[in-house]
């Protein structure tokens, strides 16, 4: 069975690899994990190419697959959170010492953002997607996506300034464990 697109498909996919890698490395903060993500994305995408609507945005489609693969893997690594434990994982990733992050290193700072903030900021601020496209990739409302970008920028600013972020101000909305039903409702406003 030959997919009629497949003669040009390999070239089309190859053309997207540099951006997929850039996205994966920015998102995961880890080159090995990023390469695994890209590999898995290419294979999944190839095997379900029939679900890709020709003429639509291939890059966005591939980014969606990569993003979902990343989030699923991160969700599997977490213990099932109870409602009180929701923020603990995100907080444990945040710096505790003032000036701990001597930040010329943006990539280091990025991994300290909660995942949903991080991906939103990278998609809009680095990869050049519109808010609408990024929202579709992340499977959320445009308003939610905009809020995450805004929070991500603020959070990143604080990290890059080397300010200690007081516990009360730590913004962990957008952490991977944040999607309890109550929070999901709030974030959809």
């Amino acid at each position: 069975m030959q997919n009629p697109v497949s003669s040009g498909l390999r070239e089309a996919f190859i053309a997207q690899i540099p951006q997929l890698r850039a996205f994966a490395i920015s998102l995961s903060g880890n080159r090995d994990e990023a390469d695994d993500l890209v590999q898995e994305t290419l294979m999944k995408a190839w095997n379900k190419i029939d679900s890709f609507e020709e003429g639509t945005n291939l890059r966005a489609w591939l980014f969606t697959i990569l993003r979902n693969t990343f989030i699923s893997a991160r969700q599997r690594r977490r213990d099932i959170p109870d409602s009180d434990g929701v923020h603990l994982e995100a907080l444990s990733e945040a710096p505790h010492q003032p000036g701990y992050l001597d930040l010329q290193d943006l990539r280091t700072a990025l991994v300290h953002l909660p995942e949903y903030q991080r991906e939103a900021l990278i998609l809009v601020g680095a990869a050049g997607f519109s808010y609408q496209e990024a929202a579709e990739i992340c499977g959320c409302a445009v308003g939610t996506l905009k809020s995450r970008v805004s929070r991500a920028r603020a959070h990143l600013s604080k990290l890059l300034d080397g300010d200690e972020v007081p516990e009360s101000e730590k913004d962990v909305e957008g952490a991977i464990t944040d999607e309890s039903p109550e929070n999901r409702q709030i974030s959809r406003q």
Binding site: I14, V38, L121, S157
Partner: protein
């Protein structure tokens, strides 16, 4: 509908946002400029050859 940045909702001056934006894009573009590892090309060649059986 205007395209002005959301300065009213932000505590930070526009220049801080612009700096972050430039920094992010530069980081991302540098990553995208890296040569593609052979293994990805091999994976795709492999997928394509299986399809042509």
């Amino acid at each position: 509908m205007t395209a002005t940045p959301d300065v009213t909702t932000s505590k930070f001056p526009p220049t801080a946002h612009a700096r972050i934006g430039n920094h992010l894009r530069r980081m991302y573009d540098d990553l995208a400029d890296e040569p593609v590892p052979d293994k990805f090309l091999e994976i795709l060649a492999d997928l394509e050859s299986k399809e042509k059986k």
